[in-house]
C-alpha cells in the first residue's frame, strides 16, 4: 500500500504540472497560455507570402514600416479565424481576400502609422506541381487614402 502511495506521489510531483497544462488546454483550447503548438504540424501543398506595393506596383519593403513579413502573415491567419473565413489551399474567394486585406491594412496602419497614400496588398501563393514550385500572385485589396481624403 505504502509502495503504491509512494509511486502515486512520485508521479504527481514528476508529471503534475505537465498534466495540469494538458487539462488546461482541453478546457481552454488555443488561448494563452494554453496551446498545442501546431506550428509545422503538417506540410500542406500551399504556402502564402504577403507584400505591399505602391501606385507603380513597386514593392514597399516591410522594414520601412518597422514590421516583418512574418507578422503580416500571422495577421492574415488570425483575422481569418476571427472572421471565421476558411483559409489555405487557395480556397479563399475574391471577396474573402478583399475583406481580409482591408482589415490587415487597417491594423497595420494603426500599429505602424505608415504614410503611404496609396497601397496595394498582394498575396503570393506557392504550391507543388510535379515537383516544381508554382507561384500565383493575387491582388487582395487596394487602399487609396488620397481618394478617401
Amino acid at each position: 500500500m505504502n509502495q503504491i502511495k509512494n509511486k502515486v506521489n512520485w508521479f504527481i510531483f514528476t508529471f503534475g504540472v505537465f498534466v495540469l497544462y494538458g487539462i488546461g488546454y482541453l478546457i481552454f483550447g488555443e488561448s494563452h497560455p494554453f496551446s498545442r503548438y501546431p506550428m509545422y504540424s503538417s506540410f500542406p501543398n500551399w504556402s502564402y507570402v504577403f507584400y505591399f506595393t505602391d501606385k507603380h506596383d513597386k514593392i514597399i519593403p516591410f522594414e520601412t514600416m518597422n514590421i516583418h513579413g512574418v507578422e503580416v502573415s500571422h495577421l492574415y491567419y488570425l483575422i481569418s479565424e476571427d472572421l471565421q473565413i476558411l483559409y489555405g489551399n487557395f480556397q479563399e474567394s475574391k471577396e474573402d481576400l478583399d475583406l481580409l486585406g482591408t482589415k490587415m491594412i487597417e491594423i497595420i496602419k494603426v500599429q505602424t502609422d505608415f504614410d503611404h497614400p496609396f497601397i496595394k496588398l498582394y498575396r503570393g501563393g506557392y504550391y507543388l506541381e510535379n515537383d516544381s514550385i508554382i507561384r500565383i500572385d493575387q491582388l487582395m485589396t487596394t487602399i487609396d487614402y488620397e481618394d478617401s481624403i
Binding site: Y21, P33, Y37, V49, Y51, E63, N66, G69, E71
Partner: protein, 292 residues
C-alpha cells in the same frame, strides 16, 4: 563534470536559471512595448479584460517599473509564491495583448513557467522541506517546457498522422515562404538565393530529410523521459538545441520563446560553465593552501 549529469537540484543552479530567465522575459517585454502594438483582435484573456493597457506605449514606464520591481523580488527570493504568480499574470496579459495585435509568438509555455514555479513555492508553504523546494522549482519549470514539446509532437500526429516525416518533401514550400518573408521585409536578393539553394539541397537529400524529421518528432514525443532526472534533461536539451539549430539553418526560423527558456532551464549553460570553472579553481586553491 559528473555533477552536471547527476540527479541533484542545487540552489546555485536555481540562481543561474532565474536571473537569465527574468532578464530574457523583461527584454521581450521591452521589445513588445517598444513596438507599440495595438490589441485589435481580442484573443484569449483580452476577450475579458482590456489588454491594450499592458502594451500601450504611454504606459511603458509604468509597466516596466512594475516588471523590474517584481524582478528584484524574484531574484532576491522575496514573497516568492506571490511574486511568481503575479509575474505569471502579468506575462499572460502582455502576451495575450501581443497575440491580439496579430503576432503569434507562441509564448504560452513561457508564461506557464512562472506558474509552475509559483506552484512549487505554494507547495513549500505547506510542506516545509527545503530540499524538495530546490527540486520542485526547477523540475516543475522543466515540466512546463516538456509539455509544450510533447503537445507539439501530438499536434503532428493529429494533423498529419504517422506520415508527417514522409510528407516532409513539401517542406520546400515552407522554406520558400520563410525566405520570402525576409525578402519582402528587406528586399535583399540574397534571401531568394538562399531559398533556391535550400530547396535544391532538400530535393537532393530526401532520405536524410526523412530521417532528420523522424528524429525530431521522436525527440519531441519522448520528452517526458527527460524530466525524470536532472541529468537526462541536460543531455536531452543539447539534442533539442541541435534540432533548433537545424530548423534555423534550413528554414531561418527560431521560436525564441521556446528555444531560450529550454536552453536556460534544460541545459543551463551559465551553471555548466561555472561548475566546470569552479572545480579547477577549488583544486588550485587547495594546492595553494597546502603549499603555504
Amino acid at each position: 563534470m559528473k555533477t552536471l549529469f547527476d540527479k541533484v537540484y542545487t540552489r546555485k543552479e536555481w540562481t543561474f536559471i532565474k536571473i537569465p530567465f527574468f532578464l530574457f522575459w523583461i527584454s521581450l517585454l521591452q521589445h513588445i512595448l517598444d513596438k507599440g502594438y495595438h490589441a485589435s483582435l481580442s484573443k484569449g484573456l483580452c476577450q475579458l479584460v482590456d489588454c491594450q493597457f499592458f502594451i500601450a506605449t504611454d504606459n511603458k514606464i509604468l509597466i516596466l517599473s512594475i516588471a523590474w520591481l517584481l524582478g528584484v523580488l524574484y531574484i532576491a527570493e522575496i514573497k516568492m509564491k506571490w511574486t511568481t504568480f503575479i509575474l505569471f499574470v502579468m506575462s499572460m496579459m502582455v502576451y495575450s495583448a501581443e497575440e491580439s495585435s496579430g503576432v503569434l509568438s507562441r509564448s504560452g509555455m513561457f508564461s506557464f513557467i512562472f506558474l509552475s514555479q509559483s506552484i512549487a513555492y505554494w507547495i513549500y508553504s505547506f510542506d516545509i522541506e527545503l530540499q524538495r523546494l530546490w527540486k520542485n522549482r526547477i523540475q516543475f519549470s522543466m515540466q512546463a517546457i516538456a509539455v509544450a514539446y510533447f503537445l507539439s509532437a501530438c499536434s503532428k500526429l493529429i494533423d498529419s498522422g504517422l506520415s508527417w516525416p514522409s510528407d516532409g518533401h513539401r517542406i520546400t514550400l515552407q522554406i520558400v515562404k520563410s525566405f520570402n518573408y525576409n525578402w519582402v521585409t528587406n528586399l535583399n536578393g540574397e534571401e531568394l538565393d538562399k531559398a533556391a539553394y535550400f530547396v535544391k539541397l532538400i530535393n537532393q537529400n530526401q532520405f536524410t530529410l526523412f530521417v532528420l524529421l523522424s528524429i525530431s518528432w521522436l525527440l519531441e514525443f519522448f520528452i517526458p523521459l527527460a524530466i525524470v532526472q536532472r541529468g537526462y534533461a541536460r543531455i536531452y536539451g543539447i539534442a533539442l538545441l541541435g534540432m533548433h539549430i537545424g530548423i534555423f539553418y534550413f528554414m531561418d526560423i527560431v521560436i525564441i520563446s521556446f528555444v531560450v527558456p529550454m536552453i536556460i532551464i534544460f541545459i543551463n549553460p551559465l551553471y555548466c560553465i561555472m561548475t566546470l570553472l569552479d572545480k579547477p579553481t577549488k583544486r588550485i586553491n587547495s594546492i595553494f593552501k597546502i603549499s603555504r
